[in-house]
């Protein structure tokens, strides 16, 4: 069994163990975390030996899952009864994401994608209130539509090439069926990445999910989709890449304008900004030979940033910026700095890497769009900062010690990536 498959087995076994212990665990979030965390860590350790891009994917995904598990205790009040299921779904979703990211053939990718998508839908639906349920239903229906398109593309590829492997450029040139199939499959993965024409459901889902789970939902799907799209583009050659460049640029424009319009709603702004980052990943994917490696690097860095922001936001119902504790305010500030791409945070390095690749392979216009999108992100990301830092000295908030490990892990990840981005780049590059 290859290391990625071993990681998947560990994750699934972990989920099964947590489900079997549901009697002991439900109602006590801390027990769920303690029980499920080792499985995430072991999966990461097992998965790191796999060949280069897969190693980065598994470590990134398991890292995101572990921080998600650490945030379980602060899942909003009335969910503790289902915290065992939430932990199991996190582990199963990660298993699906690892399967998707490290798939050697398209069928395995489809099943992995489906596992990830379904667990993401349920994690969105698990939080309180009507809005998450509505968002989950919409995210599910649109996901089902894109799955149908994906499977249709799979059929076309099989008709064209006779196998489920990633079709090569020669096979695409030989039969138009295969090209149509590759485009449909690409768009199916693009839904998971939340690129422009397919971002509708994801936007509402990212807005309505509980903060402690939204981080996982956003970053796991992006990292896994970036990896599999990268391999699809590398195999399929330039045409699909050029298509992705324009879709990515369009996504950046749409996400930036959408985020600027969200003056009041922080969660909606973060959802739109996730679409913008997906646009950056799409643009990187289409930019030449080392594009997919840059996209994988960007997605891994985005995962750490998103987890940091949502770790800081977790535990507070409506995130009233003025009433956050000092640690969480600083963590949120660092997260927003990184998301908006302020050096020396990792977000900036990732953006710069995409620009370098886009300039060499994607041509001037997409690069200028990327620069504008990246630079004007400062306007909507840093808008809450004066409020946030002004509040740090203000009201005294009941400290939530249980949050500290989750937030600290995310802070260390972001600071570490900020100072030594080369470590992740080395993992991503020789794909």
């Amino acid at each position: 069994m290859t290391p990625p498959q071993q990681a998947i087995v560990v994750l699934v076994v972990g989920a099964i163990v947590v489900l079997l212990m549901v009697g002991v665990v439900s109602g006590h979030p801390l027990r769920a975390t303690v029980l499920s965390l080792p499985f995430g860590v072991v999966a990461a350790v097992v998965g790191i030996q796999s060949p280069h891009p897969f190693g980065l994917a598994i470590v990134g995904l398991c890292g995101v899952a572990c921080v998600g598990l650490l945030l379980l205790p602060v899942l909003d009040a009335e969910v503790p009864a289902h915290v065992a299921e939430a932990a199991a779904l996190l582990l199963l979703g990660t298993a699906g994401a690892v399967a998707l990211a490290t798939a050697t053939d398209l069928l395995q990718a489809v099943v992995g994608l489906e596992t990830l998508a379904l667990s993401a839908v349920i994690l969105v639906a698990i939080s309180a209130g009507g809005r998450p349920l509505e968002a989950a239903f919409k995210y599910f229906v649109l996901g089902a539509i894109s799955l149908a398109g994906l499977l249709y593309g799979l059929g076309l590829i099989y008709l064209g090439t006779g196998s489920f492997a990633f079709p090569s450029a020669a096979q695409i040139a030989s039969s138009p069926l295969t090209l149509a199939g590759v485009v449909l499959v690409g768009m199916g993965f693009a839904f998971e990445l939340a690129l422009f024409p397919f971002h509708w459901g994801a936007l509402d889902a990212y807005t309505a999910a509980a903060p402690s789970l939204a981080g996982f939902v956003m970053s796991a799907s992006k990292l896994a989709a970036a990896l599999v799209l990268g391999r699809l583009v590398l195999a399929a050659g330039v045409e699909v890449g050029q298509l992705l460049v324009w879709i990515g640029s369009l996504t950046i424009v749409w996400g930036t304008f959408g985020a600027i319009a969200q003056a009041a709603d922080l969660r909606r702004m973060l959802a739109y900004s996730a679409i913008t980052h997906a646009g950056f990943i799409g643009l990187a994917l289409g930019s030449g030979a080392n594009g997919p490696a840059t996209a994988a690097f960007y997605a891994a860095v985005y995962g750490s940033m998103a987890m940091l922001v949502f770790a800081a936001l977790a535990g507070s119902g409506e995130p009233e910026l003025r009433s956050m504790g000092r640690l969480r305010a600083v963590a949120l500030g660092l997260g927003l700095f990184s998301l908006s791409g302020i050096p020396p945070t990792p977000g900036f390095w990732a953006k710069l890497a995409v620009l370098v690749v886009a300039w060499q392979a994607a041509g001037p216009l997409p690069t200028l769009i990327a620069v504008a999108g990246g630079v004007f992100s400062v306007l909507y990301y840093l808008r809450p900062l004066p409020d946030l830092f002004a509040a740090v000295r203000g009201t005294q908030v009941t400290p939530r010690p249980v949050l500290v490990p989750g937030v600290m892990v995310a802070v260390l990840a972001v600071v570490g990536l900020g100072l030594f981005p080369g470590v992740i780049w080395a993992l991503a590059v020789s794909s």
Partner: protein, 578 residues
């Protein structure tokens, strides 16, 4: 001493951490921990400047995905001079802020932001390659945003901060592009002009243009000036430190540092000079119409930066740098003196309310007078004359039209500074007891003016020594004009005429606030609405954003329709690319 200088950007970080963690816990001692940073920076910079030499730090392979991914820091006489200015003004502003912010509850946060700014500015000056420059460049922009919108509850401060952020974003974008398009292996600033590095697409012109856009955004030149007057929403020490002496000078520093690259791109240099002159004249005229005391001085800063840009544009980088050096001291003097009057008047900044209150603050009055004389450029006595004459001489030698325009500008300078001085310090006061003296907090503010006064007077004489130390760095430098020369006297005469005209006009017409009739006299709360074209652009952007977010109507069928149409179009599109 240079190796120590190369790491001098960490000097204020311990102060930042201590103040952030609230080490001097008592309320009135807040911020004392960070007082040590800037003086240390000043001493190390002066020592390094005196014994010369240069030292480069390089950690290769720090960012493997960039054309030049190393961490490079370069400490040489040029950066030592900038750090000396930064240390000198920052030390005085820190000391001044103890008095100015004495009653402000959030003084601790104020000093944390100041430390962040000084660290970022030092890193910017010490940057060896574009990647590290970007860290300092954006860090300075962020701390300026945080400080401008420091009094978050006052109306308009957040929008003023966002305007500054937007303008900085344009500059960062240009630098971001430059850092990613240079050919592999040559991001270092000192090697930008080598043929290998200008071989990229667009060659030297495009690279120089990008650096110019970044510098113009940071130094509020040309169309990108709109944010600086509104940056006066921040406390006055900030206006003195950031928006007069150091941050806005970062643009000029960048152009001086890459003067060899500008030499390769004559059209861009000409554009720099033309925009410099245009900004100088436009800002001088605009200052005449300001009803807010600090905004009047802010436009003066924009004008003087125009002079520096003109100096660098015509190919006299040392003249621009020398004016930057002297301008830092006398402009900070003007702002801090104004701060004393504003502080005394309970935070009111409108000229009609401050009329005549300056009389009750002798230190501020003397300081403002010396600053004004230096701004006009009275020979021998003030530093302004040495550096302004250097720029005008170099400009007339190389681009006569620009040179004479700069000379004519001096009369406008005399007019606007004379107007500000006479309204606040000479005109009969509106109501005598409007100003209240709080001796305890005023003492640090008054005494921090003295070194600046000495600087405004004496720094001119350092010109020749500076020229000697910086000669190897800035290539061939034409000799500085002698202290007394006909053109210098002519410039001073114009300035003096302007000053006298304003003096006569405003001391006799008690109620007049602006030269032009029909100017609204009373202005309640200072508004920070962006200038014309910027607010039009911003509103258009927001309109597009709102209409776009309305498309996201929440209805599932509309989303499904969008997905199908998108899917079909992309499928049809693939036919085109096959």
């Amino acid at each position: 001493m240079m190796p120590l200088l190369a790491w001098s950007w960490v000097f204020t970080l311990p102060g930042l951490l201590l103040t952030a963690l609230g080490v001097p816990s008592s309320r009135n001692k807040a911020g004392y921990a960070s007082l040590a940073g800037p003086p240390l920076l000043l001493l190390v910079a002066l020592a390094a400047l005196l014994n010369g030499g240069s030292y480069a730090v390089a950690f290769d392979n720090w960012l493997p995905f960039l054309p030049d991914g190393a961490y490079r820091a370069l400490a040489d006489p040029l950066s030592a001079l900038l750090l000396a200015i930064l240390g000198f003004v920052a030390t005085l502003v820190y000391f001044y802020s103890l008095g100015y912010m004495a009653t402000d509850p959030a003084r601790r946060r104020f000093f944390v932001y100041l430390d962040l700014f000084v660290a970022a500015m030092a890193l910017l000056v010490l940057a060896g390659n574009l990647a590290v420059l970007l860290i300092g460049w954006t860090g300075v922009g962020i701390s300026s945003f945080l400080l401008i919108s420091f009094w978050r509850d006052r109306p308009g401060t957040l929008s003023a901060g966002l305007q500054a952020l937007a303008a900085n974003a344009i500059g960062d974008g240009a630098l971001l592009l430059a850092a990613s398009i240079v050919p592999t292996g040559c991001g270092a600033l000192v090697t930008l002009q080598t043929p290998r590095c200008t071989g990229g697409p667009g060659g030297a012109e495009f690279l120089a243009l990008l650096l110019f856009v970044a510098a113009a955004a940071k130094s509020a030149q040309g169309p990108l000036y709109f944010w600086l007057p509104n940056a006066m929403a921040g406390p006055t020490p900030i206006s003195a430190l950031i928006h007069a002496a150091t941050m806005v000078a970062a643009g000029v520093y960048l152009l001086v540092r890459s003067h060899a690259l500008l030499a390769l791109a004559p059209e861009v240099s000409l554009a720099i000079a033309v925009i410099g002159v245009a900004t100088a004249l436009g800002a001088s005229v605009a200052s005449l119409y300001q009803t807010n005391f600090k905004k009047g001085i802010a436009y003066s800063t924009v004008a003087q930066l125009g002079y520096m840009f003109a100096g660098v544009g015509v190919g006299a980088p040392f003249a621009g740098l020398f004016h930057l050096f002297t301008h830092a001291s006398f402009k900070a003097l003007l702002f801090l003196a104004a701060g004393i009057v504003i502080h005394g008047a309970g935070g009111r900044e409108s000229l009609s309310e401050l009329r005549g209150l300056g009389r009750f603050f002798p230190f501020s009055r003397v300081g403002f007078l010396i600053g004004s004389l230096a701004l006009i450029g009275t020979p021998l006595v003030t530093a302004g004359s040495f550096s302004k004459d250097a720029i005008i001489d170099a400009a007339i030698a190389k681009q006569p039209i620009i040179g004479w325009l700069l000379l004519a500008g001096v009369i406008l300078t005399g007019l606007y500074i004379g107007r500000l001085f006479s309204i606040v310090y000479l005109a009969p006061p509106v109501d005598v007891h409007a100003a209240h003296h709080d001796a305890q907090s005023e003492r640090p503010m008054n005494w921090s003016l003295v070194p600046l006064m000495v600087g405004a007077i004496a720094f001119g004489w350092l010109g020749s020594w500076l020229q000697a130390t910086l000669a190897p760095l800035l290539g061939e430098i034409e000799a500085l004009p002698p202290p007394i020369d006909p053109r210098g006297l002519l410039a001073f005469a114009l300035g003096a005429v302007g000053f006298g005209l304003a003096w006569w006009y405003f001391t006799r017409r008690a109620e007049a606030v602006a030269m032009a009739p029909g100017q609204p006299v009373a202005e309640g709360e200072p508004t920070y609405r962006a200038a014309g074209w910027v607010s039009v652009l911003a509103d258009a952007g927001y309109a597009v954003a709102r209409s776009l977010s309305r498309v996201q109507s929440g209805g599932l069928p509309r989303y499904a329709m969008g997905s199908f149409i998108g899917l079909a179009l992309i499928l049809l599109l693939r036919e085109a690319i096959r």
